[in-house]
Amino acid sequence: MTDWVTNHPELVIAVVKIALLLFVLLTAIAYVVWFERKVIAHIQARWGPYRVGPHGLLQPLADGLKFLFKEDIVPANLSSRFLYLLAPFLAVSLALLAVAVIPFGPEFEVLGTPTGFWIADINIALLFVLGVTSLTVYSVALAGWSSNSKYPLLGALRSTAQMISYELALTLSVIGVLLLAGSLSLREIVEQQSGRLWGVLPNWYIFPQFVAFICFFISSIAETNRAPFDLAEAETELVAGFHTEYSSMKFAMFFLAEYAHIFTASFLATVLFFGGWRSPFPETPFWQWTQYFPAVAAALLGAYFVLDTFRHAHSALHRGLMTLIGMALLGAGAVLALVPPLLLLVQGPFWFIAKTVAFLFVFVWIRATLPRFRYDQLMAFGWKFLLPLAVLNIIVTSLALVWPVE
């Protein structure tokens, strides 16, 4: 057994990476819920979660425990008990599966074995993500149908129709990037985005493919069933849409899947249009100092946490926890600044996470700002505006690519 393990170091590394990514991602999903509530609250001039832990930081933990201890109610007259139970599992597993091929950073070495900030680097990574996300329709459809209840069924029908419609625009908007990169591998697409555009801007595909990005982002909001496209769960009309009959942990799984999809959408937008793990600054000696951004960011955040304890009359728990987190972050910043190899290692993930957080903020911002679409408007917008726009983008991009060669 030990022989076999030492002979297959890549397998051990892969298992460790999967465990690590799942832990980080699930924690991040829990905290993005907190982030969303906080941001929306501040946009609406409220405080948001504040009671459980400092700044409500322990709220996700409390929510998770609450979900776990709630009574798990399974309706008696289901259309299919098996499918009713299968749907939430399908939702979560498919949502997490898509993350497997996302490259969070460049290659690096562990104990002499080359590896990278990804779980799998496959040639058809982009198709893999699109394929897996296209299957998530089933979890919604099956949940709605198997509940044998009118609101879930109507919600599921709406949601299915919406997801099929916007998937077309989503897939077509990506083709422009594919034409430029000439590869379906997400790692290769990021590597294609190195260098400078007109000497100033980073060579990210957002600039030549701006129209595609708009199409992509709008359709990915629709794909994740988020506001302003959350007609599948329009509370005023459909109670909660397809997951009305789900309670306790099974409801939490749908919730988790939705947020995992938001992450996947943000990851994809980062990889395809914003240079993935690449720093926005040029790689010349003059800009060398920008390497210290991760250290500075960690130190600043830590300093803010420590200073926060002095701002108001806080509880002892608040003071203790915030000081602890702040000191840890300050220490991390110091270590990063003093150990160059470590600093180099975190460059990729740092920029990737920074860009992803920006997208997460935009997702939340849009939800807090825009009212819900009417259903016929939603369909008309997808089919009559986004889809033709994406096709037009493909035609223009292809022509621009072929033009110089006569």
Partner: protein, 166 residues
């Protein structure tokens, strides 16, 4: 046995099981889901042959689009369980002989191929996206374009039918 062979039998078996379940299930939704299982298992078999692009398209187009429409329609009509009826006369008299003939043919092919045939050697380059695209737009460009015309006609037909309904 190498990993390839184990995976082949695993997913080949899964495909056959899915196909059996597709025919034997009484509820249309369960049948449709069995068909999705068959598609997914087939995609893995394509992957084993090195045809990664075809495998991905198999999932996206068949499992992710066409079968979604099937499930959608079944849900929309809220179709219940099928009722067992007596077999039609055609199936009663032709079913068994035709099935036997097909089985015999498959068995004969297997018997003839068994000892010497090394099977398909996966070509890692042919299944690549670029290779498939080049083949589609050079060697098979006429059938490819004709297929798209057929699909276009089908779409026109659907639009006309939908218009008449109103």
């Amino acid at each position: 046995m190498s990993a390839d062979v184990i995976l082949f039998f695993l997913f080949g078996g899964l495909a056959v099981l899915g196909a059996l379940s597709l025919v034997l299930q009484r509820h249309p939704i369960h049948s449709a889901l069995s068909l999705i299982l068959v598609m997914a298992a087939l995609a893995v078999l394509y992957l084993l042959l090195g045809a990664e692009f075809i495998a991905a398209i198999q999932i996206i187009v068949y499992a992710g689009a066409i079968m979604v429409l099937f499930v959608f329609v079944i849900m929309l009509l809220n179709a219940g369980e099928e009722e067992r009826t007596d077999l039609s006369r055609v199936t009663r008299y032709l079913g068994l002989p035709v099935a036997t003939a097909l089985l015999v043919e498959t068995g004969w092919l297997l018997y003839r191929a068994w000892p010497g045939d090394v099977g398909v050697v996966p070509d890692r380059l042919v299944g690549r996206t670029g290779a498939v695209g080049r083949m589609l737009f050079t060697e098979y460009v006429l059938p490819f374009e004709l297929t798209s015309v057929v699909i276009l006609i089908a779409i026109l037909g659907a639009v006309v039918l939908a218009k008449k309904e109103r």
